[in-house]
């Protein structure tokens, strides 16, 4: 499971570098979306570290999976509303959060085995 933490940290570094690269390339708006993904990875890294401290190895997996389900519903509501109100940037942001969470979840499940 430490492999999962390493994965989260490496993805954060990668996204941070990608954001800087896009901004330097004159694509700040796209860089902002990478920053959003970076923040999502940061959030779930912090949650993972907390869960790891508080749980036993046997219960860690189930508790963390449950924590992964806490936010998506809100983000989906915001995505629908953003599309309904024609807020393109907000829609892009909420979609990026949901896609990033899905990647994290899938990767966690693959490490769990």
């Amino acid at each position: 499971m430490d492999q999962f933490m390493t994965y989260l940290e490496e993805e954060r570094s990668r996204l941070e570098a990608k954001e800087a690269e896009l901004c330097a390339d004159g694509r700040k708006d796209e860089g902002d979306i990478e920053k959003v993904k970076f923040n999502v990875y940061g959030m779930y890294l912090a949650i993972y570290q907390t869960v790891k401290r508080q749980c036993t190895p046997e219960t860690l997996s189930d508790v963390y999976l449950k924590r992964l389900e806490e936010f998506p519903e809100k983000w989906e509501i915001f995505l629908k509303k953003a599309e309904q109100f024609g807020d393109a940037k907000r829609a892009l942001t909420e979609r990026a959060k949901l896609e990033t969470l899905q990647e994290i979840r899938n990767r966690f499940l693959s490490f769990r085995g």
Partner: protein, 189 residues
Amino acid sequence: MQEADVIKVFKCLADKSRLQIIKSLVREDMYVEQLAERLALTAATVSFHLKKLVDANIVTSYRDQYYTMYSLCEKVLQKSIYEIIREDFETDGELERREEEYRKKVIDSFFEFGELKTIPAQRKKERIILEEIAKAFEDEKVYTEQEVNQVISRFHEDYCTLRRDMVGEGIMLREEDRYWKAEQIKGPF
């Protein structure tokens, strides 16, 4: 062109992806998925950029059988940078325009998806919010207090404060437990 429009155009052009979209559209009109494939961007990202370009009047869209096609508005792009800078910005109605911009900024800050995020502490800003909420009331209709509360609660849970302040600001008038929009009718009594 207004100064705000000029700034919008330049801000829009100051992005590599948007420049690449414009260059693609110089050759031919295209739809979102075509642009996405050509520029190796997601369709959602292309849609976001196109919306900015449409807002700046650099690009326009039209429906073509199955697709929404995008094309350049050549009028803006045919002006040279020098011509744009040389232009005297229109000054008629400058004050009204600034006030309208300020109003829009307040509304954009305090409303999200049609709901009020928080009641402004500053009176000037609160008045703008109250006037915006007042648009939900019909002209020349007399409401009961319960009806007023129902309308306001669509915007924010603290309908009591908002109702009281709408009366306090003279946006709504009240006679006993009946309410109506100000400046529309004299009142039911």
